[in-house]
Symmetry: C2
Subunit: 434 residues, 2 copies
């Protein structure tokens, strides 16, 4: 079929064969299908969707458009986690070493932040010297030796997805569940993993605003996994308030280190334990989620998770001393404290507003070419449900000066809601889809 | 609004303001909006449609993307006709001079054939020397002096439509009623006309396969005319069998000359009279359609229409002698006669198959850069409803040799249906929309 006929078939809601989809994606990657044809196709997919057979073919085509790592030389079942992105979500940092400490190898390729959501790679790079641009050979060696490695995306992984995503980004076809699913799954399966745990966020600070949308996305990705012969478990989690207390790169590293030492905010620990337990079950190092939870808790409490993290940082060129002497991490001198303007109960801490507030300090990127400031960020001092007095500190702003601070405070204006009556905090965990 | 936001708004079914649409089309014409954004927008329009206010803005934007002729110096109400394209449709050739002979100036910019449908410009160019590439100044002078001019499209007329159409043609977004309507109306209104008669074809040989689709297209275009302050009348006409007997450029000129001399096939004369009557009413040279019909009939019968045609041919450099000595028109020596393989009644003469048969002889274009052969074509010797004997001639093929003939006969295999029981011919005229 010619590109024209493929667009027409999708527009008319006819099913495309796996062979047709694979040829179409290959031709697009090589420039034989034009951008203007691919964007029309993407818009037709937005309206018509793709069924599970079409999606598996699309993932397969994007996956094999580039390098697919072969981790078969590494013993054990290789399991990764992917989060759809949130505010204050630093879970990968404590999670990967904790799971590796329990005997499941974790090969993780992570992304950078864009807009109001952060990225794992930016957080790790705030550790002085930490190198996330490593070769796939070194990546494999490190997973074999230490049990975990987190590296940035390379140009050789799923180039078709990279090209297609950049096009979707300028043609209003990003927020399309089949295309999001295919994009995520093609990148993750290119890591050479055997199984995957998905943390699909819903709420104010997430891409999916409702639990129903998040569920559809999760089901679509789990379905792709099934078709491709990979075990995939998805957990829906709440992103109506920031995860943990810290939002900002080095600040989130500090919070991750606390968690790796058995402390840290309760939601960060709970999510690390829950996702880690799922990974241990998939990696056959726990018989069920309950025993998986105990193993992850032990790894956080007995120092074994932290020890893997130290080895990761050392192997990737980072300054291990900065993990115990936190003053060696990037930091700023200027701290501004936001105080409550009225008494009552915290009824809302809008994750998206906190994300945008951190962004305006320089902690994130407006455009993908922007540089991030590793030191700036926010510390949220309250949780939803907390009673509060007028004048009580609710947030600390770690900033570089008036300009960023002012924009940040503007964003924070809308970030906190106070109610007269008591409020119950929303549950962190939603549905489990497997 | 940025291009991204405009695509998103259309995708979500929100109405776009006239200002937004005009800016978007202007930016596209100048290359500031990319092809891949415009094609995604077109696909969103396919699914979401455009309301009459949006359409008027789109037409206005495409219309004023280039030169808009000013015919105000020419006395009278300038009226044109547009047909959505059919097989054997040579109506413009007798129509324009007949209407001009009755006192209504006809400034007509016409197109070339593509695929199985023919084009007025190709037909006229089969008259030796006839020039359709003339300046807009000469065009205006000829309309003023003779009352009619038919010229080809220029690059200065509606360049936005040209660019957009070429993009739609490769992104499966051509058959979208709002976009078809806007494309036709922007080109027609750029002629500087005051009123327009539309011949919207339906059936096998037409772009719109059903009368319902044709009606929707007609209503959309009439609606645009209303919004833009131009009187527009649409007639739906049947294109399930070829119009007239001839399909092919010089052959259709011959048939047009017969019609201009008061003879010709009955359907060609009837359609010329009907559309001409509508044009005379719009041009205020007839008080109603009935008296318009009489005037057009008279112009065909008394030689005045033919006399205008002669002047047009002369003014545009054509060989006037070829209009009386038809042997001077391009012609071929080889004629093949297709005979009926069984006795019965002609129940179908599929216009699209006849169009494709003529195309395979070289009478039309597969790609827009192809050259047409003016001499080749078909002469259909029967009509739907005719009783037929086995071995009776049903079609003459005017060809250049075996290769084209063979492909043509293959197409003609499916073109003719014969039934055992008597058949009634379909009505030529459908609804009138004003």
């Amino acid at each position: 079929m010619r590109a024209y006929d493929i667009i027409m078939a999708k527009r008319e809601g006819r099913e495309l064969s796996a062979k047709t989809i694979k040829k179409f994606i290959a031709d697009y990657t090589h420039g034989e299908v034009a951008d203007y044809q691919m964007s029309a196709f993407a818009m037709a997919v937005f309206f018509r969707g793709m069924n599970s057979a079409e999606l598996a073919a699309l993932v397969d085509a994007m996956l094999y458009s580039g390098e697919v790592l072969d981790l078969s030389a590494i013993e054990g079942i290789k399991v990764d986690k992917h989060s759809t992105g949130g505010v204050g979500d630093k879970i990968s940092l404590p999670l990967a070493p904790a799971v590796a400490a329990c005997g499941v190898p974790v090969p993780m390729i992570a992304g950078r932040g864009l807009g109001h959501t952060g990225g794992t790679i930016d957080k790790l790079e705030s550790i002085p010297g930490f190198n996330t641009s490593i070769s796939s050979a070194d990546f494999q060696r490190q997973v074999a030796a230490i049990g975990a490695c987190i590296m940035g995306q390379t140009t050789s992984i799923a180039p078709a997805d990279k090209k297609f995503y950049a096009l979707r980004d300028v043609t209003a076809t990003v927020d399309c569940i089949p295309l999001i699913s295919a994009s995520i799954m093609s990148k993750k399966l290119a890591e050479g993993i055997d199984a995957l745990v998905l943390d699909v966020k819903f709420g104010d600070g997430a891409f999916m605003k409702t639990a129903a949308q998040a569920r559809e996305l999760a089901e679509t990705m789990v379905g792709i996994g099934q078709r491709m012969g990979k075990e995939v478990v998805a957990r829906l989690t709440n992103m109506n308030q920031p995860l943990g207390r810290m939002v900002g790169n080095a600040l989130e590293v500090k919070e991750s280190i606390e968690t790796l030492k058995g402390a840290g905010p309760s939601d960060i620990r709970a999510l690390t334990v829950e996702l880690g337990a799922e990974m241990l079950v998939l990696g056959q190092q726990a018989t069920d989620v309950d025993s998986g939870r105990s193993k992850i808790e032990n790894a956080l409490d007995d120092g074994s998770a932290f020890s893997v993290f130290e080895k990761m940082v050392e192997a990737q060129g980072g300054d291990v001393k900065s993990l115990s002497d936190l003053a060696l991490l990037p930091h700023v001198e200027s701290v501004y404290t936001v105080e409550a303007s009225q008494a009552g109960h915290i009824s809302g801490l809008h994750a998206e507003s906190f994300g945008k507030a951190a962004l305006s300090l320089g902690a994130g990127r407006v455009r993908s070419a922007d540089l991030v400031d590793p030191a700036v960020g926010l510390e949220v001092l309250v949780e939803v449900g907390d009673p509060i007095e007028k004048g009580q500190p609710i947030c600390r702003v770690y900033h570089r000066g008036e300009k960023g601070l002012e924009a940040c405070l503007q964003q924070l204006n809308d970030a906190v809601n106070v109610s007269h009556s008591p409020v119950v905090k929303e549950e962190l965990f939603g549905q489990r889809i497997a």
